[in-house]
């Protein structure tokens, strides 16, 4: 595999996020050439990771989640810009109050029973995915020197090989907290950071009921064997 240009991947430790030190290997990573096993992956993973829950904002039919309803979609691409069809895309996020529907979230912010907070999609022939959700709220990270996460979406993407597996986060344009976020700014390269920020769609192109954002995600694994 060709090495990535400098500055695209996040640096550790992240100040104020002690886990980035305790969990990150101290020894240098061992370089290895990619053989068959590194290029391999599952076939039709959607049989196991079943997609379908692409509307996070209506856990109860007829009762929309609290917050600004929005549509988020885009394309999953490879490094050559080709669409990745059949990719499993997992999305999870906080609700409008900045609270996750997760046992580990000890925040006092309220849960929303009409917001599921997670969804799973399968990309089409053009590599497209789409979810209906709400814009998440910001939340404070409960460490000694509290800092705030800007509104963001978490994405987990399964491409055709295990080389193209990606877990990332997406941010919103114009958020003042973006410049202060320690996780976004752990990425040294400014251009790489700006690629993590979604594009706002003009309201007339989305309609009267939703905000619209678009966000493309590029997976590694240019040399991966195409899926049979």
């Amino acid at each position: 595999m060709t090495a990535l240009p400098e500055g695209i991947e996040p640096e550790v430790p992240v100040p104020g996020y002690p886990n980035t030190w305790t969990h990150t290997p101290a020894q240098p990573l061992l370089p290895r050439p990619a053989g068959r096993t590194e290029m391999a992956g599952p076939v039709r993973l959607h049989r196991k990771l079943v997609p379908g829950a692409v509307n996070l904002a209506e856990a109860t039919p007829g009762r929309p989640a609290i917050g600004q309803l929005m549509q988020i979609g885009g394309r999953i691409l490879d490094e050559a810009g080709r669409p990745v069809a059949g990719a499993v895309v997992e999305l999870w996020q906080a609700n409008a109050a900045g609270r996750y529907a997760h046992a580990n979230d000890g925040s006092a912010a309220p849960l929303d029973p009409n917001f599921t907070g997670h969804g799973r999609a399968l990309t089409d022939e053009d590599g497209r995915y789409a979810f209906t959700t709400i814009k998440p709220g910001a939340y404070a990270v409960p460490v000694q020197e509290t800092w705030w996460r800007p509104p963001h979406l978490h994405f987990s993407v399964h491409g055709p090989s295990c080389l193209s597996r990606l877990v990332t986060q997406m941010y919103f344009p114009g958020e003042p907290l973006n410049a202060l976020d320690r996780i976004l700014n752990a990425i040294p390269d400014g251009a790489a950071r700006s690629r993590m920020i979604a594009r706002f769609l003009p309201p007339p192109s989305v309609g009267d009921f939703f905000l619209g954002f678009t966000h493309d995600i590029v997976l590694r694994g240019r040399h991966a064997t195409p899926e049979a």
């Binding site: 061992l30 290895r32 068959r36 391999a40 196991k48 990771l49 999870w92 997670h118 295990c162 590029v218």
Partner: protein, 190 residues
């Protein structure tokens, strides 16, 4: 195009994303019957971080060849094997997979010993980490493996899964992952 940057999976990866058979590579879906090819085994272990403390709520993804050493997409690959599974660690850092003993094969790197690959994701891990575990087979098979040979010889035993008895008639193998500190697991760049 440049690949999208990685970010940590964080502490809130949804529990709902784990299906009842996700940790079972021998089934292609939750409803499918397990493959009949090869020897079904259990792979278990514990993930720890600096200080030997358990790494809780981590996500492990396992991928490997089928029992005959073939991969998804090969014409003669096992159609009832998924080649991939996912598990998470419990409050003590423990994980478990059900899979088959992977077959050996040869590729452009050379003769590969029986092995499985792990991606580990966790809160605080800003990038995923990757390692490869080797099943205890003939010493010459291990000695010839070109990837194990990349590991400094003193650290190679850290990549060997240990036999750990039997359960429900299946052989159990144990592979512990130490993210940082004493006897740190060797991790690979790709």
């Amino acid at each position: 195009m440049f690949p999208t940057s990685q970010q940590t999976i964080g502490p809130f990866f949804p529990a709902e994303f784990f299906g009842p058979a996700d940790h079972d590579l021998t089934r292609v879906s939750a409803e499918a019957a397990p493959t009949r090819r090869g020897e079904a085994i259990l792979l278990r272990g514990r993930v720890t971080r600096q200080g030997g403390l358990p790494c809780v709520n981590a996500v492990l993804e396992l991928w490997q060849a089928d029992a005959a050493g073939r991969f998804a997409g090969d014409a003669d690959a096992d159609p009832d094997f998924l080649f991939w599974g996912r598990a998470r660690t419990d409050g003590d850092g423990r994980y478990a997979f059900r899979t088959v003993l992977p077959g050996r094969f040869a590729d452009q790197l050379g003769p590969r010993a029986s092995h499985a690959n792990v991606t580990l994701l966790g809160s605080g891990l800003m990038r995923r980490v990757l390692t490869t575990l080797f099943f205890p087979r003939a010493a010459e098979e291990l000695a010839a493996d070109p990837v194990l040979a990349l590991v400094p010889s003193g650290r190679r035993p850290l990549l060997l899964a240990d036999p750990a008895g039997e359960e429900d008639g299946l052989r159990v193998f144990r592979f512990d992952i130490r993210l940082r500190g004493t006897d740190e697991t060797p991790f690979f760049a790709v």
